[in-house]
């Protein structure tokens, strides 16, 4: 019984991870319509109810930048060098498409859940 509970927890964690993965990308892109550096971005997302650890956020930011969706620059703030990120033009276009897709999925899910 204990074993199956642990399996259930592991299964839930894996599924939650899969569900969050795509949502995090949309959230990060949306939040970076305003310029942020990593730490303030993380705090802003956390304050809005979406916690994301640094080990997940920074690799994601680098990947999105490599894909041309983000632009970044190093600047000094509070006597420390920080890397500031913002959405690129291409990122804005992709974000619009992703938001449309998300709304479609969300609407479908709501209909499915209402039927059930």
């Amino acid at each position: 019984m204990k074993h199956s509970t642990k399996l259930d927890v592991d299964l839930f964690e894996n599924l939650k991870l899969e569900l969050r993965r795509g949502c995090l990308i949309v959230a990060v892109l949306a939040q970076l319509r305003q310029e942020h550096y990593g730490y303030t971005l993380r705090k802003a997302l956390y304050d809005l109810g979406l916690a994301i650890d640094e080990g997940t956020l920074y690799p994601l930011l680098r990947r999105l930048e490599t894909q041309g969706l983000l632009a970044s620059e190093w600047r000094e703030e509070n006597k420390r060098n920080k890397r500031f990120y913002r959405l690129s033009l291409q990122g804005e276009l992709i974000l619009q498409q992703l938001l449309q897709e998300w709304q479609t999925i969300n609407a479908s899910l709501e209909r499915i859940l209402q039927e059930a």
Partner: protein, 341 residues
Amino acid sequence: MELLDRYLQAVRFWLPRMQQDDIIAELGDDLRSQIEEREASLGHPLNEDELVALLQQAGHPMRVAGRYLPKQSLIGPALFPLYQFVLKAVAFGYLAPWIFVWGGMMIFMPSYRASHSGMALLGTWANFWSLVFMLFGAITVVFALLERFQARIIWLNTWDPRKLPRVARRKDRVSRVESVFGLAFSILYIAWWLTLPRYGHVIFGPIAGFFSLNPALRAWYLPVLVPVCIVMLQQCVNLVRPQWQWLRAAALLLSHSIALFIFISVSKIHPHLISAGNANLDTQHAQALAAMNQVLSWIIMCIIAGICIGLIVHAYQTVRELRRMANGPGNGAALPASQTL
């Protein structure tokens, strides 16, 4: 902050050289910001334990660095099922029979056992494991190469659903036609075997006057029919109870086990052929007799190897049928998708 610097150094070690400075500067800034915020909320500088807790929360340096690396796998999900299938085929089709035959020879052949004890035994197993690693290693390298050049593998991109195998329907009963024909064949075989002593000269032909079977083999003349009788019994029962599929698998397992015992016993009797009436043979006939005995030994060894493979197959089938029976009817039956949806 020495702990933080040590942490960042450890993360740096696992990062790609070109990106080390960039990533470490950004990660370091984030961790320093976290420390400052924690210190502000606590109202005092972090002590060592508090800093350790914060770094532990950030994650092991190798894991943190790993998240910055591109996802890599030696064999990806597209080829992995095929890789697994090939490994299983090699393990069950080659390595398992090897162990089985080796075990049989160690148990039933004292001469082999005597010559393969002590260091020789270690040598045999060393060779076996070398073979295992070589085979699995070679297969892994081939699949890693396939994975690397997967985009160029034409058959993965240009495939035709019409060429896929037809839906396999698992039989839920032993066919009565199969049982009737099997029974008829078994009866014919027993009749042929029992009349063999009377018409044996027909088989041996012109050499019958020179050679005859070793009398010691006569002890096994009737026991040879035991496996056939077991299969006959199964065929009779399956005529009435065709749904007892486990019976066929179990009967074949039993008959193969007995056949293995008989053939191993027969293989120990040397020579298989002797000169007829203990007559003195000339050189030519003596050479022919030796050659025929050698060939017979090889044939018997091949039959033993075949029986061993059959034993593995029937053992697997028996376990599968018993499991299926334990799980209840209908479980595991392959149905077309159109019927399951």
